[in-house]
Structures are given as C-alpha cells and as structure tokens.
Symmetry: C2
Subunit: 159 residues, 2 copies
C-alpha cells in the first residue's frame, strides 16, 4: 500500500530537486512513496513540431508510462482540464483511494499526456488552470501529498 | 513601470529561496520587479487561535501591507477564492495592466488576507483551489510572472 508517482523526465533544476527531497522526507513518516522516472522524448530546442510529431512523442511517452503502471489501484493523471480539488478534497481522495489499494499519479512531459492514456487509463485531476514547469509541478504535488497526509492523520503541518 | 510583490513574511526554506532567486533573475531581462516583505504576526506553534485573535493578526498584517501599496497602478491579491486564470489569461492581465501603470501582487501570511483588504483594496486572482505554503507559493507566482513575460514578448521559455 502506498503512493507511486510516474513522472516523464528527470527533475533538472537544483532548487526543485531540493524541494522534492524536502517533501519526500516528510512523507516518509506517513507511508510508502515511490517516484519513478520514465525517459522523456528529446525535443530539439526551438524546433517547431508538427501535430504528427507531437502525437508520436506523446505515444512513446505513454508506452513508457503504461509499463510502470501496476494493474491494481487507481491511477490519476495530473492535467489542467481535470477535476479541480481543494486541499481537503485531495486529502479525502487519498484517504478513499488508499483504503482498498495503492494510488498512483502520472505527471506528463513538456507536451502533457497522450489523449488516449488520459481517456482510458487515468482519472484526471487538476491543481491549476495554469501551466507550471514539470520540475516545479513535482514539488507542488509532493507538497499536497504531504499536506493530505497531515490532514488525514490530524498531524500538525510543519512550516 | 514594473511589478511589485508585497509578501507577508520572509521565505524560510532554502529550496524556495533558491527557486525565487532563479525566477527573479530570469524576470530581470523583461522589466523591473521588486519584492517587499512585511513582518508577519508571530503565532506560537500549536496555539489555538480564537476568531478574534485571527482577526487581529489579519488586521495588523493588512496595515503593514497597505503601507507598502502605492496609490498608482492596480493591486491584485492572491486568494483561493479569486478569479481563476490560465497562463495565457495571466499574461494578458499583465499586458493590459502594465500598459497604463504599475502592477502589484499581495501574498498573505499563514492565515491569508484580511477580508476588508480583499474587498476594498485588491482585485482577487486565484492560482489554485488548493492551499500552498507561503514559500512555495512565492516561487509559483514568480514562475508565472516569468512565463507571462515570455508569452507577451514571444520569447522562448527556457526550461
């Protein structure tokens, strides 16, 4: 039982690595968390991608994501168009999901997530209408998971 | 002309200071940005505050915020219940606001912002329904300001 995050692409920025480490450590006291990174497709900077090329990138990344998704449990995709939750709602979703089984989150790459993966394999939730960089977003997700656990366990949130 | 951020309380976490520095440096190429910190009211950890005490904290912080708000320009408060924008909408708001004058943002403290300040002195915008820590939120705001400027100036977003 626990939480798995599948993220497309490594965190590159030092501050985001430090932030992710901070919240991963805090989460340890509450439960098991595993972060799995799948390779992102290289997109040459400044290169204009056609719709077909974008589809190919998303399809290849979706294959790698699926290979890490276990059959059991519920899998959530983080997507701007997903269901918006506040922090209590997110904590509640964690509680409901983890009672019967594991819980997984998928963070897409620079182009987001493949439409087919989103419609068939994931339940979509949204943190914001805004686009955030992958690195910073992983810190935001880990912080909400930590916060969710403090809410579920009625544990004080350490600033 | 430029952007001012008034934040209640200093950033304490190293990773968030590093993240804020990263985006402040990136923003410099586009325009003037000033971050002003006003003192937060000390709340003893674990102390249960009455509604009256909370009101007092918010009132004192609101006085300090107002003392930093210039008369010119438009001032926006970051509040979960504010108007939700996507990144293009936020960039557009930056463009529209900064054509005639300066633009300011207010980030509240641990208890948020005083209701009177919100209703009379600020236009409220929302990044998320979720609650984020003050430190991390400042990084999120700076990242969106950087992103907004890249959108307005059609400048590539550096990952």
């Amino acid at each position: 039982m626990g939480i798995t995050i599948v993220a497309v692409g490594k965190i590159k920025k030092d501050f985001a690595n430090a932030g992710a480490r901070e919240y991963r450590e805090r989460i340890q006291r509450f439960g098991r968390l595993e972060v799995m990174v799948v390779q992102e497709e290289k997109i040459p900077p400044g290169r204009k991608l056609t719709a077909g090329m974008k589809r190919q990138v998303l399809l290849r990344e979706a294959d790698r994501i699926r290979s890490r998704m276990t059959d059991s449990g519920r899998w959530f995709g983080l997507d701007r168009e997903g269901r918006m939750l506040d922090s209590d709602g997110f904590a509640n979703l964690m509680g409901i999901t983890m009672r019967p089984g594991p819980m997984g989150f998928v963070i897409g790459g620079a182009l987001g997530l493949d439409p087919d993966l989103k419609s068939k394999d994931l339940e979509l939730i949204s943190f914001s209408k805004m686009t955030f960089p992958h690195d910073l977003f992983q810190v935001m997700l880990l912080e909400q998971i930590y916060r969710g656990w403090t809410i579920l366990e009625r544990h004080p949130y350490h600033k």
